[in-house]
């Protein structure tokens, strides 16, 4: 087999045709069925492997030949991100599913209040930042074709007359055409390109197989891996000090870790094209495994190339030139296809991802602005415009890539070009991470931070790459602009001694992050930002429903018009019929619910990005967002005030409650204290009277020893009587205090209350006779079973009846006893025909030591404790002792609940 330039070009074209076929079949496949194999985690992982471009295929070998093991950092960084997928990637995927995110610019813009400014900034920066990376692929493809052409004995064939630049331009033009045909056939409503993904997955297999085959071939012809290292060492190549400076190692690991998240195409395949979150579970180990497999043979190939190839050969092309030099043309062709695969997959996906960003964030907003009058514009649908915008963007991106290639054609290594792009694209990382984890990051800060990071990158990383082709740049590099030394691109602010890569990465990311943090601290979020920040942060919490960005006053017709323009007639009809079906309303009367508008906005966002979809819908329902923003703004500001004052209020309320409780307790204490004092003084008073009498009489007895016997006996009788009175008083006091404190064990039995009443009447019979009082039994119930202490109950009744007898001043004193059942209660009334109790005494009749006006006058002056004790006793039986007013004379009534037994006997 003889390898010629014409043959490789023909093979490349045929290969592209094969990719087309795969993409076509893939699209058909997903359209007809539910996706099947193309939705498997393996295809997902293989599509992520678009990360390994010709930088890996060719550049890594060159990098290994120059700096040893350092090439591995480019794959170790992404490995870390994927091993830690739970913390960042999972969030990104979930958020992007929820918010229908279409690109990295869309993600950042959506988080920072659907900010169009931020989306535009990131889009433009991404296009600029990626141009070196595209140039790298062009350079690799061109070099590989040149390498084969140079080695062929048939000369350049149809390439005769084409130099590097021409060839690169040809490659760029073909790639542009190819990508346009490939990626812009239609606007996928969800920005998922199953056909493209299938082709990319296929290419991932091809490039891995090619690189591994070359690696195995190299190890085989050199006689084993150890032989390669031994030969290299023998040839004077230092195989051991393969670690470069720590600063370079750390920065390139960090940059690669950031790039796997921030590179537009990686975001596209990892996040946007993800159809199932659980695919990450496979990708988290399978993708690192893929990278290990890719990296395994890089160092052997590089070292073998260094020893076997003539000095001066381009180490970047070892993967291709080693098989060529060994005369194995078939393997060389396979290697070429592998390299071509890695370049095309990168260019296709990167330019698709970038073109989506350009059309969604720049073209559509401009169109919206230009058609401000009627809202949506007329004529052709938005879809057509979007497709054209994407086609144009693809051409622009490849043109920029080619321009960079042209301007830097003097430099030869591939890997440093890639690292320039990495440094640039990682400027989005602080904003992305802040969006995921920090609620207070603001759009203003993020915009400035990214912009400053970009400027530093432009100055210290991008511009120096032109130094070989531009004398001006070389001068600035040496002396700084206008001779300002501390602005020299590779030793900014006098920072010397760092590797240029580490230097650029440090200054750009340091300033970027600092501005983001400080800026966020001193600026405020807009209302929508506030809402979006919460949505992003709480993406894993089950939410009751997100705040609605647009209120629904729009008519269904307006909304349909918007939807049709963007989504196409069929999808819009489907969407609206579904809603009509769900709300059970005819379509014409459909009142768009907030939920529906939200869904519509997300669907639109899936096609044209969050910011544009928001603007577009806001136009239809104009005015609403403004008022909403105002409301949110107010809410935002007042929220903190409310929280603060609520805090204060809670604290002071607690204090107040405590103070009130204290005051109540204090009042109660004082009342009890006063009662005690009063009681003490009353007791002393009560005790004093009989004591005085006793003392007086004993003194008489002591001083007059010759008293007559009868007088002496009378005196002793008085002393005895007073002592008895004193004793009974003390007994009563003790009784009352134990009753009041509830200390005594009290047992209630089921007894017949009538019996106690009869007993009391019997006891009082003598007293009645003595006072000539008639005790009449009025209406009586035969039997009343209540729960009571029989002795205590008699005590109360005796007290009441005897009181009625004793304090009755009527000429013909009468006491009448009634008892009856009222409801579930047993009621006894003791009625006398005396003067009754004066109105002013009534409230005090149950007070301790209170004696009615009549009490003192009669010979039966008691201690005034009978009634309080009686009342206390009845209370303990769950009853009530009260003075019945209105009757002639005094009437006391005892009310006691009947026991269950009584009720049974009653009802029976």
């Amino acid at each position: 087999m003889t390898l010629t330039a014409d043959l490789v070009i023909a093979t490349a074209v045929a290969y592209v045709g094969l990719l087309f076929l795969i993409a076509y079949v893939g699209d058909r496949h997903t359209r007809n069925r539910t996706g099947g194999f193309l939705r498997s985690p393996f295809v997902y992982t293989l599509s992520i492997s678009v990360y390994c471009t010709s930088w890996t295929f060719y550049g890594a070998v060159g990098s290994a030949a120059r700096t040893g093991l350092e090439f591995a950092t480019i794959y170790l960084g992404p490995t870390l991100v994927f091993v830690g997928w739970w913390f960042i990637l999972r969030r990104l995927v979930r958020i992007s599913h929820d918010q229908r995110i279409t690109s990295i610019a869309d993600l950042v813009s959506s988080r920072f209040g659907k900010s169009s400014r931020l989306a535009v900034l990131i889009t433009i920066l991404a296009v600029i930042v990626i141009s070196p990376y595209i140039a790298l692929q062009l350079k690799a493809v061109t070099s590989s074709i040149e390498a084969i052409a140079g080695a062929s004995e048939f000369g350049r064939g149809s390439l005769e007359g084409w130099d590097d630049t021409g060839l690169a331009f040809g490659v760029a033009a073909c790639m542009a055409m190819f990508t346009i045909l490939f990626g812009t056939r239609n606007v996928d409503a969800k920005e998922q390109h199953h056909g493209v993904v299938a082709a990319i997955a296929f290419e991932a297999v091809v490039k891995l197989a090619a690189l591994v085959t070359v690696g195995v071939f190299v190890v085989y012809i050199s006689g084993g891996a150890d032989a390669i290292f031994a030969n290299a060492a023998a040839a004077g190549i230092e195989v051991h000090s393969t670690y470069t400076a720590a600063d370079r190692w750390i920065s390139s690991t960090l940059l690669a870790a950031g790039a796997i998240i921030c590179l537009p195409r990686q975001f596209q395949v990892t996040v946007v094209e993800n159809s199932d979150e659980n695919h990450l579970r496979t990708a988290c180990w399978l993708f690192p495994t893929y990278m290990v497999a890719m990296s395994l043979f890089i160092l052997p190939i590089a070292l073998y190339g260094l020893t076997a190839m003539p000095t001066g050969s381009n180490p970047d092309m070892f993967t291709l030139t080693l098989p060529l030099a060994a005369g194995n043309d078939g393997l060389a062709l396979f290697a070429f296809i592998g390299g071509f695969s890695s370049a095309t997959s990168m260019i296709i996906l990167e330019s698709i991802a970038l073109s989506i960003m350009v059309s969604n964030h720049i073209v559509v907003p401009i169109m919206l602005r230009m058609t401000a009058g009627d809202g949506i514009g007329d004529g052709l649908g938005v879809r057509r415009l979007i497709l054209n915008a994407r086609r144009f963007s693809i051409i622009l991106i490849l043109f920029l890539g080619f321009s960079y290639f042209y301007l830097t054609r003097g430099s030869d290594a591939l890997a440093p070009i890639g690292l320039i792009s990495f440094t640039g694209v990682v400027q989005f990382l602080p904003a992305v991470l802040a969006g995921l984890f920090w609620r207070d990051a603001t759009a203003k800060a993020a915009t400035v931070a990214i912009f400053v990071g970009f400027l530093v990158w432009l100055w210290s990383s991008f511009m120096p790459s032109f130094s070989s082709s531009s004398a001006t740049v070389a001068a600035i590099m040496a002396d700084g602009p206008f001779g300002i030394g501390w602005l020299r691109p590779q030793s900014l602010f006098g920072l010397e001694g760092l590797d240029p890569l580490a230097h650029a990465a440090f200054w750009s990311l340091f300033l970027n992050t600092t501005i983001l943090i400080v800026g966020s601290l001193i600026t405020n979020q807009s209302a929508l930002e506030h809402v979006q920040a919460a949505l992003f942060l709480n993406v894993f919490r089950k939410q009751a429903g997100e705040a609605n960005p647009i209120r629904s006053t729009a008519t269904a017709d307006d909304l349909f018009l918007v939807a049709r323009r963007v989504l196409g007639h069929q999808r819009a009809v489907n969407l609206f019929s579904e809603e009509a079906k769900q709300t059970r309303m005819p379509w014409t009367n459909l009142e768009p619910s907030t939920a529906f508008i939200r869904q519509l906005e997300r669907e639109l966002a899936g096609s044209i990005g969050a910011a544009s979809a928001h603007v577009m819908l806001s136009k239809v329902v104009s005015g609403d967002t403004v008022s909403l923003e105002e409301v949110m703004q107010m809410a935002d500001e007042t929220q903190q005030a409310i929280e603060y004052s609520q805090e204060l209020e809670r604290t002071s309320a607690e204090l107040r409650a405590t103070a009130e409780k204290l005051e109540v307790a204090n009042r109660e204490l004082r009342r009890v204290d006063m009662q005690k004092d009063e009681f003490l003084s009353q007791v002393s008073h009560e005790v004093r009277t009989p004591m005085t009498a006793i003392r007086a009489f004993t003194e008489i007895l002591m001083s007059h020893r010759n008293l007559a016997t009868d007088a002496r006996e009378r005196f002793v009788g008085t002393i005895h009587k007073e002592s008895l009175r004193l004793t009974s008083l003390l007994d009563e006091i003790l009784d009352l205090s134990t009753l009041e404190r509830g200390e005594r064990v009290w047992e209630n039995y089921a007894i017949d209350a009538e019996e106690s009443l009869d007993q009391a009447l019997g006891v009082c019979d003598a007293l009645a006779r003595q006072n000539n009082t008639t005790v009449k039994s009025g209406t009586r119930v035969g039997k009343a079973i209540i729960l009571a202490d029989p002795y205590r109950l008699s005590q109360v009744m005796i007290n009441l009846v005897s009181n009625a007898i004793k304090y009755n001043e009527a000429p013909h004193p009468e006491v009448e006893i009634h008892s009856r059942i009222r409801g579930r209660n047993y009621v006894v009334e003791v009625q006398d025909n005396g003067l009754g109790i004066p109105e002013e005494e009534k409230p005090h009749i149950f007070d301790k030591f209170y004696r009615g006006r009549s009490g003192d006058a009669t010979p039966y002056a008691g201690a005034g404790l009978g009634l309080p004790i009686s009342r206390e006793i009845i209370l303990r039986m769950n009853g009530k002792l009260e003075l019945v007013s209105g009757a002639e004379g005094a009437c006391f009534r005892i009310t006691l609940p009947l026991s269950d037994e009584q009720e049974v006997s009653q009802s029976g």
Partner: protein, 78 residues
Amino acid sequence: MTRRKIIGAALFVTLFGTAAIMPPLLFVAGGNMDLLGIPVAMVYVFTIWILMIVGAVVLARYLPHDEPTPPTRQDHPS
């Protein structure tokens, strides 16, 4: 293990992996020694790399699945 501990383990694997492939731990495997004719440095880096992958395989099985899976992108008829 509890859910939190599994997540903690995932964080550990990630952070430990980061530390292991960076200086100064990286320098531990330096020197001029060979292992079966291959520089120890290379063996070290690839070993750590593969260990991280093994960790990821194990963790991927045990990391919680309980969160509701979001609707796939084919959830609306089109």
